[in-house]
Structure formats: C-alpha cells, structure tokens
Amino acid sequence: MENLRRVVQVVAFGVFLYLFALTIGRYSADAQANILTSKAPIDTFFRMDPLLGLTTMVATRRIIMVMLAYGLPVVILSVLAGRFFCGWICPLGTTLDAADVLFFRRRQKTATSHSAGLRNIKYYLLAGIVIAALFGAQIAYFLDPITIITRAFTFSVFPLAAAISAGGVNIPLVPADVQYFFRLNFLAAAVLIGIIALNAISRRFWCRNLCPLGALLGALSKFSIVRRVVKSNCINCRKCIPGCKMGAICDDPVQYQAPECIYCYSCTPICPALSTRIAPTLASDGYNSGLDLSKRRVLQASGVGLAIAVLGKTNVAAKTSRTGRVKTSSPVLIRPPGALPEDEFVDRCVRCSECMKVCPTNGLQPALGEAGFEGIWTPVLVPRIGECTRHCNLCSQVCSSQAIGPLEVSEKEHVFIGTAVIDRSQCIAWNSDKQCLVCDECCSYRAVVWQTIDGVRRPFVEEHKCVGCGICENVCPIQPLSAIRVFSFGDKRHLSRQEQKAYFEQAPKTEQ
C-alpha cells in the first residue's frame, strides 16, 4: 500500500503540474480568439478543495456549482476515510514528502512531536478563517495549501520557465514570446520555501500544525470507517512512533490520533510483528477521534477572524464614492473584464493566480495595496505592463470561483473596466505639437479619436466607447508615466451587461 500511495502521489502531482502547464491560452483559428489549450477543467484542484469551496460560498452567500460538484465528493470521502487527501493527493503534501527525501534525510526523527499545543494551531486558524467567512470575508487563500503552491508556481517558477523557453530551450506549454514578470514573486516563493524549511523541525510540520485544509479534513474524519488497527500481538517495539510522518501515534503505539492520520501507510511495513494494518473497520481500539481544543483559544481565533473581516470592511479601500458605486481608494484598481462588483469580487476570488498566468500580455498582476488588505493577491490590470487584449477572455475561462464571470469576446466592447484620460500637460501631441497619436492608432475600440486644432491633430477620448483596456497607456511613448492613463472611475461592474451595452450604444457616431 505504501508503494501504491507513492505512485498515486506522484501521479497526482504530475496531474497538478500538467494542469498547471495547460493553464495557458493559444490562438484558435476556428474561434478567432484565444482559447485554453485544454478542455479539461484546469482548475480541478481548486474546485476539489473543500476549504476554498466552503469559505467562498459562506463569504459570498452563494452556491457555486462547480465548487460544490467537485468539493462534495472530497468531503464525503473524507468523512469515510479521513485525511486521505493530505497523504495521497495534496500537491503541497507531496512536495513536503519529496523535500524530506531530498533535503532532510539526516534530520533526527523526532518521536515526541505530537504536542497538542502546536497541533491545535491549525484548528484555531480554521476557526478564524470560517468566522471571517461568516462575516463576509474570504481569507482562506492566505493559508490554503493549493493556492500557496499554485501562486508560488505562477509567480516564481513560471516566469523562469518562460525565460528559459524564450532563451531557445523550448519547454512545451510555456510561451516563448512573452516574458512574464510578477509583482510579489518573492513573497509567493518565500511562503512555499518557508513551509518546506519547516520540515527541518519535523516531517510535514505544515500539515501537522498549520494547514487549515488539513484541519477541516481532520475534523470531518471523526466518523471515519477506515482506521488503523493494531493487533494484540504488538511487541511494543515503538518503531511506528517515529515512523509516522504526522506524529499521530501516541506513546502507547496501539493508540493513535485519528484526525491526524493521513493514511500514508508508513506504519504498516515497519511493524516487525506485522500487527498494524489500516483497513475499513468499526473497531474502536486505539481510535482517538476527539479534538482536544481549548475553548478559550477557539474564541480567540474567532475573534481574530472577526477582526479581520470587520477591519477589511472598514478599511479605506472599502470606502465608496459619492455615487455609492465606485471605490474611492485606488483610482488604478482596474479589474479584468467580467469581474463581479468589487465587494463580491474580493470575497469570491481565491487568489489562485491562474488568471494572471493565462493573461497573454502579462498585464494582470497581483494587487499590492490597490484593493486594500482584503484584496491582496487579487488580479489587477496594470496597463503599463500589459493591456487587456481585444480578442481574449482567457481569465474568465479559468476562474474556478467565477469571481471573473463568463464573458464572450464579443461582449468586450461594452464591458467597461475603466476609462482612459489624456494628460495634456504630458501629451506631446498637445504640449509640443508632435505627430504622435499612437493611442489613436492602437485603440482596439476606436475610442481615441483626433481633431485638428491649431493645425495639429490632437487626441481625445470618447468615454462611451472607451472600455479601459489600457492599450493606449501601454504604447504611449511618454516615460515613465504615460500621458494617457486608465483609471477605474469608468468601471461599470455594478451595472448589468444590458445596461452597459445601452451605455455603449449612446456613443456618438463619429467617422474619421
């Protein structure tokens, strides 16, 4: 079984990497637009993740069918077979197991690491996350293992692969024509490396003590019918105690803490008397399903969760303009087209970073402070890095929580994400009579037009047509700040598509 588990782990990790690699768009001649290379749901792992599913649905008070359809089977299996996901499927768990073999072989195997104090941290974190979700703030993304590893891969590994690909060593499914750069790439990598480094203290330190997804699955496993059973011929050699990755076996080796067991089957082959097995059973010898949590700590954690939720909602980033619609905090908070209204968007977005990976211009970047604390790591369009290109809706195709809703390429002409503004004091067609008009030239929606004033053609923006794609800001020859910039005030996410279309149709009909 141990070997089977290893094979499954490798296969699951392979699938994860493959799906990650497939998270990329290619031009399709049939669709005349960019489509995903894969018809398989490349966000399968996110859909399966019950922690993300739970917190997103609770925080937004909505049923998200894709998450339910994939997450519910995992929940049911976990009720029956405990934290099998951690031991067999989780790509972060597999990474930690691999890191053990590669880097931490000589580490002393700590036998006495099942200290309840450390171990309970993950439950407290889970409590905080769930309470925050109840109060309408989705913060699971910060500690969810699937998002942690995907973010690290997108922000840190993928740009490196793209650089190698561009350098001539062609890697399949990695674009060679766009060099990707991401903000916060250090932070994303540091979180993953930090988690790996914690293995120096004990094996699967993260999974034992910190992982809120593990805590959720552990809590579900209370009635698990697959259990570790030690027969009466146990010779009390205690080899299984340090052999357990999770330190789940108690001082009395017959006893184990069921919510900690990840069904890795490490304890069965090392048992010299072959008295240990893991099998479907209802025998309750040695089965400790209880969680010994401190009520005080749960309350404390809930308080922190509540505080985060409330602080998020009272952050200046949540302040709206006088019309009550647009956030006033950041004029450059430009969301991808199809994104839900801001409040719902930050709660739905699980920060998986897949939209940023597929963005063919690299313009989608993780938010730093634009959206406040609540919005960290959410996608924001940075036109100076890359525009939202015309014939593309890849980000809406990959979004597992549908924070970026479905969007047809044909709708893009009336889905307004911002509005461009010309800074005439910087614009060389205005301030020094140059023949520029690069913005007019490149506009995909013919929203930038020119008029001859004092003998020189000068650019103007037609607001009814400008959707805020940002290509003008990207190509403007003025450095370092563009003389035409996109601001979020034209964002019309609060309007329905029909209303936005009606607004678009009021556009003055000009020909030139």
């Binding site: 005349q32 060389i428 290509i471």
Partner: protein
C-alpha cells in the same frame, strides 16, 4: 562522490566565468553587412506596374510580371524576406493588414524562382503575436505557400544601422533578417493613418525598427524619410485591393474595394501613386514629399512610366 578541494573549485569557477565573459564579447554585433539600399536595382527604376482586377493573388502576379517578372529579382537559393503590414489584431476584411492572398502569392512566386529560405516577418504591435499572425491570415497564407512566418518581438532581433543622410535621426535599428537577406520585398497595404495621414510603402518600413515610439517623440515624417534613405526594398508591392478610408491604421472603418496592386522599385513613386487612390496628392503627405526632397525617389508621377495591366 566527487572530491573537490577549494583550489580546484575556485579554479573551475574562474574558468567558467572567463568562458562566459569571452562568449559574451563575441555575441555583441555591431554593424550590419550590406544595406539593401546599396544593391543595384533589378527593374527599371522609373516604372510602376499597376494591375487592376478583383483577384488579389492574380493581380499580384500580373503586377510583378509587368515589371519584368520575379525571376529577374530572385535567384536560385536566395534568402528572401517579405515584410507585410501585420501590426494589428484584425481580420483581413478590416483592411488594416496586408491581404494574405497578396503575401501568399509573393511567396509562391519566389518559390517558383527557386528561392531558398523565404521569411515573412513584421514587428507586430498588438499582442499576443501568435493571435495577430493567426487573425490576419498571414500565418496560414505564408506557411501554405512555403515560407516561415515570424513576429519579431525582442530587441535582440534588431541591429543598429547608421543613417548618414538622416536629418532627424542619425542611426536606428533594423530587423537583422532584412539586413541578411539577398532580396527584400516590402508588401504594405494602403490605408489612412492618424499621425501621418496615409501609410503606404515607406511608412510600413517603420515595422523594421525596434523603438517606434522614439519616432513619434522626434519628427515622425522626417524619420520615415530618413529611414527610407538606407532601407530601400528591392521591390515594393502595394496592396490596394481593399483600402481603409477611415479609422486607420488599425480600423475598423470604411473600406473601399479598389482592386489594384502596385509594384515598383522606387518607394516614393509607389507611395505617390498610392496617395492618389485616396484622392490626395503626394505633396500633401509630408513623409513622401520629404523623401522626394532627399532624393529617395520620384514623387512626380508625370516622370514615371506607369504600366497598367
């Protein structure tokens, strides 16, 4: 386990570093071999061939044949570079990019003359480049006819060239492949343009440089004329099957079916003829006039032989 002492280790690092340093020195290219402008022209300099009709690929062939045939220009084994206008993410109907049938026919004609490598290349503006090549139909047309189709995307695809006669710019960049080519064919489309009023042959050469924005910051029309003094295509084939009258250069806008393909060696004469299609005079298009003044070619069509076919 390999045993390596400190001395050996440092030695190895030094050796590797030295090799990388020397390798880096070698890869820095400075000046190009031969500029296209220095080649002797293969066709009569003062002649334009204008083919009229409705079948874009047949017109292309008729125009080149009227000029003297592609076999005069392309010899067996030649490396041919074709530079269409494929800046934009627009399907061919919009008229913002060179008609793929024209590009395909040019490649086929070169192939028939025994050309070796044929490369269709442009420095595309819209992204992603793969989509631009696909949506414009150039990838399919070029490949089916037997050419490589490439969108230049990196600064390393360009090298620096001096512009001795330049008035606004004394040097700029050019696609390396164009400098290496035996034959360079410019295949622009005729359309309107915000900044330069029209974009025809010489304006299309702006897609050969890396930093387009610098021309806008400088004097755009003068830069176009300056550049035309050194990058002179062996042949310009102007696609005027369908011209974009409004909303240029990217469109969409009003198009007009003109049904013409114009071939010529003199880039100024080709552009001057092209201006006429928009009922404008070359004199009104500053970059054409400036190129004429700098001696790049002849804009007075009275002095040019026009073969209508």
């Amino acid at each position: 386990m390999i045993k390596l002492d400190r001395r050996e280790f440092l030695g190895a690092i030094a050796g590797l570093g030295g090799a990388l340093f020397l390798g880096g020195c070698g890869s820095r290219e400075t000046q190009s071999a031969e500029l296209p402008a220095t080649r002797t022209t293969k066709y009569a300099d003062n002649t334009l061939a204008v083919a009229s009709g409705s079948d874009a690929s047949a017109l292309t062939r008729k125009a080149v044949d009227a000029l003297g045939g592609m076999d005069k220009l392309v010899k067996s084994g030649d490396f041919v570079v074709v530079k269409p206008n494929i800046a934009w993410n627009q399907p061919p109907e919009v008229g913002a990019t060179t008609n793929p049938e024209v590009v395909g026919e040019i490649v086929r004609m070169c192939k028939e003359c025994g050309a070796g490598r044929i490369l269709v290349i442009d420095h595309v503006i819209d992204r992603p480049a793969e989509m631009v090549l696909g949506l414009t139909g150039i990838m399919a047309a070029g490949k089916n006819a037997g050419a490589e189709v490439v969108a230049a995307q990196n600064e390393s695809d360009f090298s620096r060239v001096e512009i001795a006669q330049g008035r606004a710019i004394k040097s700029d960049t050019c696609l390396k492949e164009i400098l290496k080519a035996d034959v360079f064919i410019n295949a622009p489309i005729a359309k309107t343009h915000g900044a330069t009023t029209l974009t025809l042959g010489m304006k299309n050469l702006m897609g050969c440089i890396w930093d387009r924005q610098s021309w806008h910051r400088s004097k755009l029309d003068q830069c176009i004329a300056d550049y035309a003094t050194i990058i002179r295509p062996d042949l310009t084939i102007l696609d005027a099957n369908r011209i974009l009258l409004t909303g240029g250069p990217k469109g969409p806008g009003k198009t007009k079916a003109v049904g013409k393909v114009i071939a010529g060696v003199d880039p100024v004469a080709v552009d001057s003829y092209g201006a006429g299609l928009f009922e404008m005079s070359a004199d009104d298009i500053s970059h054409i006039r400036l190129a004429h003044e700098m001696g790049v070619g002849e804009m007075d069509l009275a002095k040019v032989t026009i073969k209508n076919v």
